[in-house]
């Protein structure tokens, strides 16, 4: 079987789901544009952070200057200094890296585990489906934050365990999502056509079904990033995140609790940073939902199909 014979059978991804078009339509939507701008700014901080803060001694993680601790904002330290005399702004800028890396790492792990499981589960059905779905049921039966918390508590803190813990809570949602999609795509005529042409089942799944099942995954990914950031920062807040003195926002927020009476600003900033990330992905997600769900987009009244 050559590609020349197979490819005409595969239907291209729906127009709205092509990445470039999707991006353009998201840009036109009011809330997702705001989300894209915010996310762009945060990603710029991730990339440019070390360069922006290069001149400050606080960019060295091990730096401490107790003589300059808990200073109010000044020309030298725009947001003041923390309990160890480190520049708060420098640490916030550098913290973007850790927060985003943990979030992306967890989501990527979740996709890497969830995608094949969900695809196999939906495509082959049978006992594979049964086993995978029971596994997913069990993981989803736990309050997700608690599962990540328990896992990190048992394995010990640190970047790797944090990513594993958070990914464990996100992979079941990807399994569910991709399975539902594969279940419907596998019934489409082009799959039947490929089967009739003698294409192997594995190849059909990989070349025809999966590419046509990706839209919801693309939409879900930013939302999962938000939830991963939220969980990871929550663990950091409880002292179970990355090790000291890494400037991770959740950890910084947790440490600042002791100064809530004397230096409330230290509580305000890291929290605000976390909120901005999550706000960005939520706005983006809102826009994506509107753009991809024509029923919500159009002002023309369409009778709702009854749920059965």
């Amino acid at each position: 079987m050559t590609d020349a014979v197979v490819d005409p059978v595969s239907i291209p991804v729906p127009r709205s789901a092509r990445p470039d078009r999707l991006l353009r339509r998201l840009w036109r939507h009011r809330s997702s544009r705001l989300g894209l701008i915010l996310l762009g700014l945060i990603l710029a901080l991730v990339v440019l952070g070390p360069w922006l803060t290069g001149g400050s001694p606080s960019s060295d993680m091990a730096y401490q200057n107790l003589a300059a601790s808990l200073q109010p904002p000044s020309a030298a330290h725009w947001l003041g200094t923390d309990q160890l005399g480190r520049d708060e702004l420098v640490r916030l800028v550098l913290g973007a890296r850790y927060t985003i890396i943990i979030g992306l790492g967890a989501v990527a792990t979740g996709v890497l585990v969830g995608l094949p499981l969900g695809a196999l589960s939906g495509f082959y059905r049978g006992w594979v489906d049964l086993v995978v779905q029971r596994l997913v049921d069990v993981v989803l039966a736990f309050p997700s934050f608690l599962l990540a918390l328990a896992l990190v508590a048992v394995l010990g803190p640190g970047l790797r365990n944090l990513i594993i813990g958070v990914a464990l809570t996100s992979f079941p949602r990807f399994v569910r999502l991709i399975r539902a999609q594969v279940l419907s795509v596998r019934e489409r005529p082009f799959v039947e056509a490929a089967l009739a042409l003698g294409v192997s089942r594995g190849r059909i799944l990989w070349r025809h079904v999966l590419p046509n099942s990706m839209t919801p995954v693309i939409v879900q990914t930013p939302l999962e990033l938000g939830s991963a950031v939220l969980t990871a920062a929550g663990l950091g807040f409880l002292g179970l995140g990355v090790r000291q003195p890494t400037p991770e926002w959740g950890t910084m927020l947790g440490e600042s609790r002791d100064f809530i009476f004397s230096n409330p600003a230290l509580v305000t900033y890291p929290g605000l940073c976390i909120v901005l990330v999550i706000l960005a992905v939520n706005l983006l997600g809102d826009g994506a939902r509107d753009v991809l769900d024509p029923r919500l987009r159009s002002r023309i009244k369409i009778p709702r199909r009854r749920r059965t």
Partner: protein, 306 residues
């Protein structure tokens, strides 16, 4: 209806079993010797051995598993390595505080969330809608731990109106409840808004309106009632989030519930209690999901015949 409930129950049992298995494995993936880790640095070899027996950590993994499940079925969740009391007693002593907090938070979230959602839906695309949408998207973006700290800063430090922690008086329940319900308010109001917008556009609403019924009766008796199903679904979904949030809320406000027990046990490396508490949280969530399903079928008879 009865057969529907029975079927749901039957599905919940293997899940509960799976949850028990995961919590069993949790203690077995501790790097190194779990009994050694939990006994602490000063423990003698006999101490470690005694703890190993108490926690069912001796013998092969299969015999450990059988022992674990057997003891679990008898309501025995092992013994706390920190205090020596049975974990189940520790949990029983703290459960009420967490249940109180969670129930209060969900009630507040449903009442406030539905009200805001209905208001936004009725004034669709107006300034009110825009403001409420902004508020709700902020609501779902605010981590509970930050909301909690901000509330303490405002109402305890600045204004001095409410205590920052503890559980001595009715006033101390206010801030934790608000913090914990914050996220759910945003979530439920968003869902209520979209469900109400959809419902109010249906044909029967126009017919009812043509009968000359008052606006409030139209919205509540006919609109909200028909929009209730999707709202119920998200309320059920919110509960898991709420239980996770309770752990953080209890830590911030020094609320003496299960979440605090869990965090204290983690810092004390008392993994038997960690394991037991996590199991109880998951079991509670399974129970709530079961109740949501049943309530859902009660509200919409079509579901029973799926």
């Amino acid at each position: 209806m009865l057969s529907y409930v029975a079927r749901r129950l039957l599905i919940a049992v293997p899940t509960l079993f799976g949850v028990a298995t995961v919590s069993f494995l949790l203690m077995r993936i501790i790097p190194g010797d779990p009994a050694r880790v939990m006994a602490g640095p000063q423990a003698t070899a006999e101490d470690v051995e005694r703890l190993r027996q108490q926690l069912g950590l001796g013998g092969s993994i299969w015999s450990q598993y059988v022992e674990y499940i057997t003891r679990l079925m008898q309501g025995d969740l092992m013994v706390s390595a920190r205090t020596g009391t049975p974990v189940i007693d520790e949990i029983a002593a703290r459960a009420q505080a967490t249940v109180t907090l969670a129930v209060l938070a969900i009630v507040v979230a449903v009442v406030v969330g539905c009200t805001l959602g209905v208001l936004a839906a009725l004034r669709r695309d107006s300034v009110v809608d825009l403001i409420l949408s902004g508020v709700s998207v902020f609501g779902v973006s605010m981590p509970v731990y930050w909301v909690g700290l901000l509330l303490i800063m405002l109402f305890s430090v600045q204004l001095g109106w409410l205590p920052a922690g503890g559980s001595d008086s009715w006033a101390s329940v206010v801030l934790p409840t608000v913090a914990l319900s914050f996220f759910a308010v945003g979530f439920i109001s968003r869902q209520t808004r979209s469900a109400m917008v959809e419902t109010m556009e249906l044909d029967f609403i126009r017919s009812v309106r043509a009968k000359g019924i008052s606006r409030s009766a139209l919205v509540i008796r006919h609109g909200l009632r028909n929009a209730a199903l999707p709202i119920m679904t998200v309320v059920g979904l919110q509960f898991g989030q709420l239980l996770g949030g309770a752990v953080l809320t209890e830590t911030i406000f020094a609320w003496p519930g299960l979440g605090r027990l869990l965090i204290d046990s983690i810092s004390a490396r008392d993994f038997a209690t960690v394991q037991g508490t996590v199991f109880v949280f998951a079991a509670a969530l399974i129970l709530v999901n079961l109740l949501t399903d049943i309530l859902y079928a009660y509200a919409d008879p079509r579901i029973r015949y799926d």
